[in-house]
């Protein structure tokens, strides 16, 4: 294992930002894994740190394939992590909306450029992703449908679901999208939590990534058996919006099978405690996203169901 500084940036008042990468193996660039790009992505950093541990063990047992290099970048934006912010501390921009970056551009464009130059040329790329709303996902893998990455490769992770997302204009500046433009087969792995550590979900994500690496011939390792992944289009999943606002309680958990008409959650008046609304599932299927904040506004996506 080699621990390298991939990119550095001077700050006017803090110690220099050094983005650390851990390299395993030698030779052809095979897989890059990126963790926290936002300051609250603690789970994403944790999963990467666990991968560093796993790869150290595999390397010591000579289980990394020949002519194979693996790069792990556990945390890009620790400046924000250390001061409790999600986005870049100075201007609140999101590094994951700055790819492919620009070396003469704004600060976060330069960070994205410096990082991306080190992430290019790998055959596969995995980003530990988080969602832009408070909530938890069933661990799953996702690709952005640019036509470059074959959806079937998602099956090698052995997660229950592999989801294909049609990119929207605002997705075109993400790492995942640009990785594919530069011919890296890119995947986003959702490991349930974001700003807290969920060890069970992290175990599942680590096993999924190891399974993928084993199935792709990058390492030789044993993992617990995975699922036969169901590949589906994100637009085919059912989003359920709240029609009321108040205190939110959910009656279901991620991974639960629900029937059409089941009560998924309830909303109570925050001042007098009256029940305002019951949120019922309009379809039968598996719950793969739940909103997890105690307060809810109207028109908030609070559940996603895979039919």
């Amino acid at each position: 294992m080699k621990k390298n500084i991939l990119f550095s940036l001077k700050s006017p008042y803090r110690e220099q930002l050094d983005i650390i990468g851990f390299k395993f193996g030698h030779g052809k660039k095979s897989l890059a894994i990126v963790g926290a790009m936002r300051g609250n992505e603690v789970q994403q950093m944790y999963v990467c740190s666990r991968m560093v541990q796993e790869l150290k063990k595999l390397e010591s047992k000579d289980r990394i394939a020949e002519d194979t290099e693996i790069l792990i970048v556990p945390c890009v934006n620790y400046y924000s992590m250390n001061i409790g912010k999600r986005f870049w501390a100075m201007d609140n921009t999101d590094i994951n909306r700055m790819f492919p970056g620009y070396n003469l551009g704004e600060t976060t464009q330069r960070i994205a450029d410096g990082l991306f130059s080190m992430l290019q040329g790998y055959e596969y790329g995995i980003q530990l992703a988080s969602f832009y709303q408070p909530g938890i996902f069933l661990p799953h893998v996702k690709i952005m449908d640019t036509g470059f990455t074959s959806p079937n490769i998602m099956k090698d992770f052995g997660l229950e679901f592999g989801i294909i997302r049609k990119p929207r204009p605002y997705d075109t500046t993400t790492l995942n999208y640009n990785w594919q433009v530069w011919e890296t087969k890119a995947f986003s792995v959702y490991a349930n939590a974001t700003d807290e550590i969920d060890v069970k979900a992290a175990d599942e994500a680590v096993n999924a990534i190891l399974r993928f690496m084993n199935n792709r011939g990058i390492v030789s390792t044993k993992t617990p058996p995975g699922y036969i992944t169901e590949i589906l289009d994100e637009s085919k999943t059912k989003q359920i919006q709240s029609d009321s606002a108040g205190i939110f309680f959910r009656n279901t958990e991620i991974g639960k099978k629900v029937e059409r008409g089941n009560i998924l959650g309830r909303i109570y008046d925050p001042l007098d405690g009256e029940l305002i609304a019951e949120i019922r599932s309009p379809v039968s299927g598996t719950v793969y996203f739940v909103y997890n904040s105690p307060l809810i506004n109207s028109k908030t996506v609070c559940f996603k169901i895979i039919k």
Partner: protein, 320 residues
């Protein structure tokens, strides 16, 4: 009493968790038989306030001179009222920039639902003016921005607006989710104004745009009152924009002024280190031209934008 009773309409209303609704409101000023409609939209970013005063000025003057209006003026002062109220650029508790969520959707997240309602309401305006004021870091000369594909349609209207500068830029995929792109692509001509600086009101710029808006209304046949002469803007077409970014971290202290014409290599400021009392970067102009963007917020990292310079035209002058 002079004037009219304000006709305030709610464009979108979303219940919030505790005892409050998020309301997007507009004021409609209507007089005469014409159906020509001008929409003035602002407050998408909660830290941009120049448009607030402009909205007040225009509404106030029409109010007092309603008989000179022949058509409809809709004023939307705050597309992001919670952002303005909490000094938050985006929508509080939502990651994405609101101006990257248009056209929105009725069955999406709260912000997407709001954006969808705003678009539905604005569609059909003859012209929409979307007023921004940079951010807290940069100060902008009053200008209108448009993409190359929209320029043939929009430029004649931009010239009516009394701005100093029209920046015609390359189109970028990510900008397809802006309010202006959505409206322009659906046939509602939308001009994006950038002026001033975040969290402040620059009265002279508001007055300049105010004159421009009334001139536009006159040209659209909606306004019979007196209007001021408008300036001919510099057009960026065929001219490049030079970006001056900091390479060092420290405190930026400019020594050139906003609007100055500079030469390549001219000293326009310094980045200094307050701890060591050293100049860590002497900032130089990257081309000949006019400074139309200048950094206001002094603390900089490597990469922070310090200035934008519009390069001189081929014949060396600021031809229009």
């Amino acid at each position: 009493m002079k004037g009219v009773v304000p006709m305030v309409e709610t464009v979108a209303s979303i219940p919030l968790a505790v005892n409050e609704n998020l309301n997007i409101q507009k004021r409609r000023l209507k007089h005469g038989k014409s159906k020509t409609r001008l929409s003035l939209v602002t407050g998408t970013h909660g830290d941009e306030l120049e448009g607030q005063y402009l909205a007040y000025m225009i509404g106030s003057y029409i109010n007092d001179n309603i008989e000179q209006l022949n058509g409809i003026v809709d004023i939307y002062p705050a597309l992001n009222p919670m952002g303005i109220d909490s000094i938050t650029r985006g929508l509080p508790m939502f990651d994405l920039d609101m101006n990257r969520v248009f056209p929105g959707t009725k069955d999406g997240t709260m912000v997407e639902v709001i954006c969808s309602s705003i678009i539905d309401d604005l569609i059909g305006s003859d012209v929409c003016v979307d007023v921004h004021s940079s951010n807290i870091f940069l100060k902008e000369m009053p200008q209108i921005r448009m993409s190359i594909p929209t320029a043939p349609t929009l430029l004649p209207y931009a010239k009516m607006m009394n701005v100093d500068f029209v920046w015609i830029h390359e189109s970028a995929t990510v900008l397809e989710s802006t309010l202006a792109h959505t409206l322009n692509s659906r046939g509602t001509k939308t001009l994006v104004v950038e002026m001033g600086v975040g969290m402040r009101i620059t009265k002279e710029y508001c007055k300049q745009l105010y004159d421009g808006v009334f001139n536009l209304m006159k040209e659209l046949g909606m306004w019979s009152g007196e209007t001021a002469d408008v300036r001919e803007p510099i057009i960026s077409e065929g001219r490049e924009v030079g970006f001056v970014n900091s390479d060092a971290a420290g405190i930026f202290v400019p020594c050139a002024n906003f609007g100055d014409n500079v030469k390549l290599g001219d000293h326009i400021g310094d980045v200094v280190d307050p701890l060591t009392s050293k100049v860590v970067e002497k900032v130089l102009a990257v081309c000949d031209g006019m400074i139309f963007t200048m950094r206001e917020y002094p603390v900089v990292y490597g990469g922070s934008l310090l200035a934008r310079i519009l390069k001189m035209s081929q014949n060396g002058g600021d031809t229009q």
